[in-house]
Symmetry: C2
Subunit: 339 residues, 2 copies
């Protein structure tokens, strides 16, 4: 019997890269069945304030797992990102992004022979992402930043469990508790408490500015880092840059009942429909999803095929060796399938 | 007649590196006179809540300029960093840090042949640095983030003026106005308004996470970036990493009446008193200060001597070519003076 998951194509290049990834899944005989749901910018524009229809919401809640392409953030002051709303609606409290050096994707770090292999776990709900702001006058804007013990505990516990599951030796907590003594102080305190339950994982903490400095000088010294929402957002993108950009960064939003695997790069409206988009980030998210669902063999096969394809120098137009002509999405996908 | 400035040695390695810098100034016949003031961790411990004596405060206010070594942040929940307090007490609203590739200081970027030359201007007073936080319960911490129009305007105007003075072509505003729509939205709105008065400078804005990704992939595309306080703090350290670390990052806190030039790296208590500390960051801050005071000839001479010394491979123990034996602070300083 096939496992059923919800799939949302997303906006812009979303449908193309989703089709590419599902074609790779099919070629590897992945035992998944897909229920496509109505979610994205056009549904927001049609009046669905969460960016999805009631039916989509119900399907996702029944199936418990959503695989989604990138979605455009609607413009306007009172309006929230569809991605962020989805994280909140289903309390997917942990955002996990795994960054590793990919042969064939050249960066200053790969050129310097510095291998990168690190995981960022970001708290996904609290912090200034609550969007609680007001104008005291037109000249004074006030925002509120809320950090709670249960909210911190669930993501920190997830991070330690993830570290143990992956066989990691250490986990760092990034924070700015020297300035935000109560809010980040609470997050750090919870980290230190939970750490006691995981004596097998070396726990340390580091001030976020210092962390960013070290990430660009000695990224190989980190294995996994857990942070509050906004700091985690910033550090995640920094780390994506270390391995070549958001086009190579998978993202998983983990909750107790519902989890979302997504591409976090933009929707690239300028190249949408041209068949030249790079499906790597969505494929990497898909591979994480297969592991999460217990399809470890499929995950390993597809991951190896992807790594081998990149090593061969096959690439879409946005990266890779200029001396090798770039492939379109289909040819890139075919190469992965062939491998 | 000599210009008189206030000098605070700072904690840890502070006195050593300050002595080194002042020795270099003297050798270049800099027409400055120094009034040493009582400021630092020991004064905080002795009961001065701002980390300085009343006399020190008065001297600094009379002279209008403070040159300071690094200072230790006192521990404790209600207690604030002495550095941060100083910025607030005198409303030094713009923090400027200039980052450039230094020959002799090897980084992954210098190895890849990517030259870095960029300036970060950080708002220095507002944002969560107000330290307005409370515990709603022991499990819920709430912090407040305040962004004002006058506060934003003064630093943004400073950034445009700085860009013009330096002959830069462009200035970017880093922000997270897609999430913090009112607070960062206000900062961005002011940026766009002020930009209209500077048609000679190309103004653009970029979301801070995307900015961090681009800074680690294509830092050479930026000339100057202005940001709110905490995001500016994080981005400044990231940029320090790009050029080799905080040991190579000067820092100036500019206000209308008082300005502070400082080393922002730590106090390195482990090597304090050993005479092996690296005075480069404080010297770079000193060079900025000389320019600020109008001593452009001294600034250029000393800068050239420093750059030439680094190029020769002379270095303290914390950086440089391992094949060349490292120098202590004195020998490094002597080499700069000789050049
Ligand atoms: C699109 C944006 C709202 C989102 C965020 O800030 O979380 C993105 O940057 C991310 O990292 O997923
Ligand atoms: C020491 C610390 C309080 C300070 C800050 O956060 O501003 C430092 O990181 C800096 O950048 O000057």
């Amino acid at each position: 019997m096939k496992t059923k998951i919800a799939v949302a194509n997303g906006d812009g290049i979303g449908p193309e890269i989703m089709a590419a990834v599902l074609r790779i899944f099919e070629a590897n005989d992945v035992q998944l069945e897909y229920e496509f749901v109505e979610m994205g910018k056009s549904y927001f524009d049609a009046g669905h304030s969460t960016g999805m229809t009631a039916q989509a919401k119900e399907t996702i809640e029944t199936l418990g797992l959503l695989f989604k392409g990138p979605m455009e953030t609607p413009k306007g002051k009172g309006v929230k990102s569809i991605n962020v709303t989805a994280r909140k609606v289903w309390n997917t409290y942990a955002n996990q992004r795994d960054f590793r050096t990919l042969n064939g994707v050249e960066t200053v770090f790969s050129k310097a022979g510095i291998p990168i292999n690190l995981t960022i776990i970001r708290e996904n709900i609290e912090d200034t992402y609550g969007g609680i702001e007001h104008l005291l006058t037109y000249d004074v804007a006030v925002g509120r930043r809320i950090i709670t013990r249960p909210g911190s505990e669930q993501v920190i516990r997830y991070a330690f469990e993830m570290a143990r599951r992956k066989g990691l030796k250490k986990l760092a907590c990034g924070h700015k508790a020297n300035i935000m003594k109560l809010t980040d102080g609470l997050f750090l305190e919870v980290f230190q408490e939970v750490a006691k339950e995981y004596p097998d994982i070396e726990a340390s903490d580091i001030i976020v500015d210092d962390l960013c400095m070290k990430l660009v000088t000695r990224p190989q010294t980190f294995e996994a880092i857990v942070l509050t929402n906004l700091q985690g957002d910033i550090v995640s993108d920094l780390c994506a840059g270390l391995v070549g950009g958001l086009g190579f960064a998978p993202s998983a939003n983990i909750g107790d009942n519902i989890s979302i695997f997504e591409a976090v790069h933009g929707t690239a409206p300028d190249i949408a429909g041209k068949g030249i988009a790079n499906p790597t980030a969505l494929l990497l998210s898909g591979i994480s999803m297969l592991r999460f669902l217990g399809f470890s063999k499929n995950a390993a096969d597809i991951e190896n095929a992807l790594l081998y394809t990149l090593e061969q120098g096959v690439h879409t137009g946005d990266f890779g060796d200029k001396a090798i002509p770039s492939s379109n999405t289909n040819a890139f996908t075919d190469a992965i399938i062939a491998n």
